[in-house]
């Protein structure tokens, strides 16, 4: 029974990672950029949701939509200002810029509102615990898991069935060839960032609802964990991010259950290292040899 409860704990922790990892992996899949600012967009999303609930007095779903919209705009701005000028620079330059943007957002938010934590109002969504044979499942974690699954399916649909999705795949395959075929590469990349950041915003609001406490540096660790989850599943592969996130959550919970709670974060990064050594393309990835 205890083991089952730990599995449930792991899945609810992992569904947050999965939710953040979806946006991460999508941006990487299309633009081949590790967007380290993704975790901070997630944080901004949590705060936007918080302020729309407390100051604008809105309900959960309107706040979620506002947060997603603002984060989409923020994502596009970040891309246009920080990444676009470096599109033809080396990969390392883009990576360093991403770290810079991440720090800028974190400390910008601290500058504007201070570093003290804020507590999400808890009465928006009833937090009941459902009891299955002695295993407690909170209704909020079911909601988060459900949201992740729905968003994953939606993303798969967008990427594989819509026109913009087709453009994204083309840009991902060969940017110059796509341009020659009349695809507006800049708009396509902007759309990618808008969708990815909107997902981060949604994850931020869900996180706030579930864990109550939000603060300006809250994006760092979940952002890193989501990165591990994305690599675990195969970075760039949307269902991979989902599975990687859930798997990472379960691994962490089982490590804590075994009495090594202080090693939890360490184990997450050990998983990253092992994956990079033994299966660099991730669980869902195919090893593609690069043509020379």
């Amino acid at each position: 029974m205890e083991f089952l409860q730990q599995l449930v704990n792991g899945v609810s922790l992992g569904s947050i990672y999965a939710l953040i990892a979806l946006g991460y992996t999508m941006v990487y899949g299309i633009v081949k950029l590790i967007n380290f600012a993704h975790g901070d967009v997630f944080m901004v999303g949590a705060f936007i949701g918080f302020y729309s609930i407390t100051i604008l007095d809105l309900g959960f779903f309107p706040s979620l939509l506002i947060s997603m919209a603002v984060c989409a705009i923020l994502g596009v701005l970040i891309e246009r200002i920080a990444y676009k000028p470096l599109r033809n620079a080396t990969r390392i330059a883009a990576l360093i810029t991403a770290i810079g943007v991440s720090l800028l957002i974190e400390y910008g938010v601290i500058y504007v509102r201070g570093a003290q934590p804020e507590a999400y109002p808890s009465d928006l969504i009833p937090a009941t615990s459902l009891d299955f044979l002695g295993v407690k499942v909170s209704s909020q974690s079911l909601l988060i898991l459900g949201t992740s699954v729905v968003l994953m399916i939606l993303l798969q649909f967008i990427v594989h069935k819509t026109k913009i999705g087709k453009a994204m795949r083309a840009v991902s395959y060969d940017m110059d060839a796509a341009r020659l075929m009349g695809i507006n590469v800049n708009n396509t990349i902007s759309a990618t960032f808008a969708i990815g950041s909107a997902l981060a915003g949604a994850a931020g609001v869900a996180f706030g609802m579930y864990y109550t406490k939000i603060e300006p540096l809250m994006g760092i660790i979940p952002g890193l964990k989501a990165f591990v989850a994305a690599v675990l599943g195969g970075i760039g592969i949307i269902p991979g991010a989902m599975v990687g996130g859930l798997l990472l959550g379960v691994i962490e919970s089982l490590v804590s259950a075994a009495g090594f709670s202080l090693w939890r974060d360490g184990v997450a990064f050990v998983v990253l290292i092992l994956i990079l050594i033994f299966r660099p393309a991730g669980l869902f990835g195919k090893n593609v040899r690069e043509k020379v």
């Binding site: 205890e2 730990q6 792991g10 922790l13 507590a119 864990y211 109550t212 259950a257 939890r264």
Partner: protein, 391 residues
């Protein structure tokens, strides 16, 4: 760099001057202190970063000295000499030197924080003048590595003491036999409280059935809480700070853990109630220095007097401990029969069972007070006075 060097030279001159002046002072001027007034220095944070602490202490001190001087101490009156250390350790050192060598005080009260108190310890020791901090809780203030700073005292209890009080409350008031401990392994405060809780709780015949740890800034505690739930403890000791504590309590209650949970003064913040929610906080307790809701007539008289003097302002723990410090000194002056610093030091040491607002006062061998702590219970998101526990 150069500025630092200059400051260093200046400081060493000041220290030397202070020591010299002190040596001269204790031999020649002690006779004069037997007169009508006994000067008490107050070296407090009246401006700067933690000014609210110093100001509260000063308000408590002033109120107490006013009351004491109505009757006098066997014909003697106390005179308060205040120095603003600007919440700065170097200023606090200067202040101690000035109060001892120029103002020739019989004792110094201050500072509010441990750091600013530690900056005065050496000067108090060398000049043989008692230094009493109302609120500095760091254990190294009074003794370090087994060496006692015999002229240094405090009115508050030290951090690990709260663990002992919590253990006694669990054993005698809640009558629990086994407990779980959850430690913030990144905080010395938390580890200190947990160690002293475990020692006392096991001394009382209790058993610690589970011990789990987390680090500050963690957000998901379901895994460790599930482990704890499996061990079925009757009580959880959770000595942490309010950010994580709030989340732990919320998640524990969601997992169906409804046993009493207890912590220390690290919980004491309104944000705790926002994070955990009012309902999950029911059946949780904290130890603290003082509560204005204490039904003890001594506390209620103090609260009334304080509100009367300061336009209805409710006294916090700093004001109460400042007030107590003045009475602690007055009692020592009475038994010493003079304003001589060394006689006052001896009397301070021998204080036994002096009844103060924040509990009865007696010192252990490290000059740390053994006195009652207040237990507060959360009811409907509000702190309510529950009981006072003697160690």
């Amino acid at each position: 760099m150069r500025k630092k060097k200059l400051a260093g030279i200046f400081m060493s001159f000041m220290m030397a001057a202070g020591v010299l002046a002190g040596c001269g002072g204790s031999s020649t001027t002690s006779g004069e202190k037997d007169g009508e007034t006994v000067k008490i220095g107050a070296n407090l944070e009246l401006s700067g970063g933690v000014a609210s602490y110093g100001q509260s202490i000063q308000e408590g001190l002033k109120l107490a000295i006013e009351e004491i001087n109505k009757e006098g101490i066997d014909g003697k009156k106390l005179e308060l000499v205040t120095f603003d250390n600007k919440s700065d350790a170097a200023e606090a050192t200067n202040g101690a030197i000035k109060l001892i060598s120029q103002d020739k005080v019989s004792a110094i009260v201050g500072a509010a924080t441990s750091t600013n108190t530690l900056a005065q310890v050496e000067i108090a020791q060398k000049n043989k003048t008692p230094l009493i901090t109302p609120t500095g809780t760091n254990s190294t203030i009074t003794s370090k590595d087994g060496v006692l700073n015999d002229f240094v005292f405090r009115t508050c209890f030290i951090d690990p003491f709260q663990g002992t009080v919590a253990a006694n409350f669990a054993s005698t008031d809640l009558k629990v036999k086994n407990a779980a401990i959850i430690i913030d392994s990144s905080s010395d405060y938390s580890k200190g409280l947990a160690a002293s809780f475990q020692e006392s709780f096991e001394g009382n015949g209790g058993k610690v059935v589970a011990e789990e740890a987390y680090v500050a800034k963690d957000t998901d505690f379901n895994a460790i809480l599930t482990n704890i739930k499996a061990k079925n403890p009757e009580f959880i000791f959770l000595p942490g700070f309010y950010e994580e504590v709030g989340l732990i309590i919320k998640q524990a209650r969601a997992l169906g853990i409804d046993v009493p949970i207890m912590g220390g003064d690290g919980w004491d913040s309104p944000t705790l109630v926002d994070i955990a929610g009012a309902d999950p906080l029911n059946n949780t307790f904290i130890t603290n220095h003082y509560s204005s809701g204490d039904s003890d007539p001594k506390v209620q008289d103090f609260v009334k007097a304080f509100e009367g003097k300061y336009d209805g302002k409710s006294p916090d723990a700093f004001a109460a401990l400042g007030y107590d410090t003045a009475y602690y000194i007055a009692d020592a002056v009475k038994r010493a029969g003079s304003g001589d610093p060394e006689k006052i030091k001896k009397a301070l040491e021998e204080t036994d069972g002096l009844g103060l607002v924040s509990g009865n006062m007696k010192l252990d061998k490290n000059h740390d007070p053994i006195k009652a702590a207040v237990i507060l219970e959360y009811k409907g998101g509000k702190q309510e006075f529950n009981t006072k526990v003697n160690p």
